[in-house]
């Protein structure tokens, strides 16, 4: 028997999709039965009370959570988010119900025993409810009490070899696509870069001193599987400098219908014979492709590396050989308003494992210095860029303006020179001037 009646939540289960309400009810029932004889360290009926307080929020149309507080583990200013229920007498099981963010492994590779042990830990010391994964990418453990935090942290770091993630005004848990491990489009080793920078910037991850949150995301190619261009203050997107590699025999294979286009995706329906003109050449956004006399040609100078043609004919087309990444800045994706895509700051940078990614770190650190000094409280990098202009970002990072930075033709007819850009500067010799110009 459920502890609280939840008629409104029950309705959420009636739709065609899997429902988180059903998941929660299942966990509540498992905890009530406790067949594994777990010595629950937080109230056994926590999930029942969570359903209860959620039902109450649907009834009265307001939240009953207080977000935030002074909780954490020693030495860390992030990774734990205090949650307190403002109706603790009605729902004592969730009076204290903190969230923990745990860094996910690069590329989200897990072994099943890791996941099993993690679930066991969370059944024992938390609510048993998780969110795999949160929108930043980390493992979210939902609901525990303050005395459990250090215990969980100890277990995670000593037995799971896993760290807490970022929260608050920190570098957030960096996230990457699966990259070279499984994907031949990858233009650099996303997992290594993500992992290396995570280790390098431990202080930024755990000790908050930024004006607001800061996210890194790593995509191996412009397909952007972790949506870095939309969701990170600094996104690293794999790209190439030279020409797309073309295998003309494989192109012919696609045209003859020997290979299914798009790697066989969208195969649930008969779309008719493959039409290279219509499906590839005609959809190239920069119209830089041509298919004539059985030969595919690409004017690579005009190619924006949108990946479309490569995605459709992966056997025939491959990214070039001179690979690296582009760095874009200033994206953010708040739910309510102000979503913004990243702006291109570095068109091409080498991703060099050998020297510890020195060139990339230099850009990152210049940006942090700039934002930490100029950013207002709770101002994301993208907002600072809007407020002060892209030019300031170029100055702060000491990057020369290039045509790729231009977003649109200018709307201001004036050009403002700085003194150091003008020969002789602003000063003049008045006596010299008076020789030719009477008062």
């Amino acid at each position: 028997m459920a502890k609280h009646k939840t008629p409104l939540l029950d309705q959420l289960e009636s739709g065609p999709w899997p429902s988180f309400v059903s998941d929660m009810k299942q966990e509540a029932a498992v905890r009530a039965k406790n067949e594994k004889n777990i010595e629950y360290q937080i109230p056994q009926d926590a999930v029942e009370d969570l359903l209860g307080v959620l039902e109450l929020s649907y009834t009265d149309g307001t939240t009953h959570w207080k977000h935030g507080g002074i909780v954490g583990v020693f030495g860390y200013g992030g990774g734990v988010i205090g949650r307190y229920c403002d109706q603790p007498e009605m729902f004592p099981g969730v009076a204290h119900f903190h969230t923990m963010r745990v860094a996910q492994p690069a590329g989200k590779f897990y072994k099943t025993d890791f996941l099993k042990n993690l679930c066991d830990l969370w059944d024992f010391r938390g609510s048993g409810l998780t969110n795999m994964h949160g929108s930043t990418g980390d493992i979210i453990l939902l609901g525990t009490t303050t005395p459990q935090l250090e215990e969980i942290f100890y277990e995670l770091t000593h037995k799971f070899n896993q760290d807490l993630g970022g929260s608050g005004s920190n570098l957030r848990t960096p996230a990457d696509c699966i990259g070279e491990a499984r994907c031949e489009y990858a233009c650099y080793d996303t997992q290594d870069l993500c992992h290396t920078l995570t280790q390098e910037y431990q202080d930024e991850l755990h000790r908050p001193a930024f004006p607001y949150k800061f996210k890194f995301k790593f995509d191996g190619c412009p397909n952007c599987c972790v949506a870095s261009i939309a969701r990170s203050d600094m996104s690293f997107i794999g790209t190439w400098k030279d020409d797309i590699r073309i295998d003309q025999d494989a192109v012919a294979g696609y045209v003859n219908g020997d290979f299914p286009p798009n790697g066989g995706a969208h195969a649930g329906r008969d779309w008719g014979a493959f039409d290279i003109e219509k499906e590839v050449v005609g959809l190239c956004p920069t119209e830089c492709m041509k298919y004539e006399d059985g030969k595919l040609e690409i004017n690579n100078k005009e190619c924006t590396r949108c990946m479309h043609c490569i995605n459709v004919m992966p056997r025939a087309l491959r990214p070039g050989k001179e690979k690296g990444c582009s760095i874009l800045c200033g994206a953010k994706a708040p739910i309510l308003d102000g979503a913004q895509m990243g702006s291109l700051l570095v068109p091409f940078i080498e991703v060099n494992k050998e020297d510890g990614y020195a060139a990339i770190k230099e850009v990152i650190e210049a940006i942090w210095d700039y934002w930490m000094e100029e950013g207002k409280n709770r101002e994301r990098l993208g907002e600072l860029m809007k407020r002060q202009g892209f030019q300031k970002l170029l100055e702060a990072t000491d990057i020369k303006p290039v045509p790729q930075h231009v977003q649109e033709p200018r709307t201001n007819p004036y050009i403002f020179w700085k003194e150091e850009e003008v020969e002789g500067g602003w000063t003049r010799d008045v006596n010299e001037y008076r020789k030719n110009h009477l008062r």
Partner: protein, 79 residues
């Protein structure tokens, strides 16, 4: 700047404002110390380690306060 001097400046400034405010942004602290953020961060970290300051976090932002002065469960806008 020496740690002792930083501690004195911070404790004095935050105590003065304690009636109206218990949580401060990192920027406020670097202004009190009159240091660049990176320099200030080293000292502020040390003060947290020593238990002079403590973190307060809403999940999206982090603020700092003198240990023991803030409300454990205060929400972001109810200072």
């Amino acid at each position: 700047m020496e740690l002792a001097e930083a501690k004195e400046k911070i404790v004095e400034a935050l105590t003065k404002k304690a009636k109206s405010k218990s949580k401060f942004y990192f920027n406020d602290l670097s202004k009190i110390l009159e240091l660049k953020p990176r320099e200030a961060k080293k000292l502020v970290n040390k003060l947290v380690e020593d238990g002079v300051l403590e973190y307060w976090s809403s999940g999206s932002t982090t603020m700092y306060g003198l240990s023991g002065t803030g409300k454990q469960a205060g929400a972001e806008h109810e200072d």
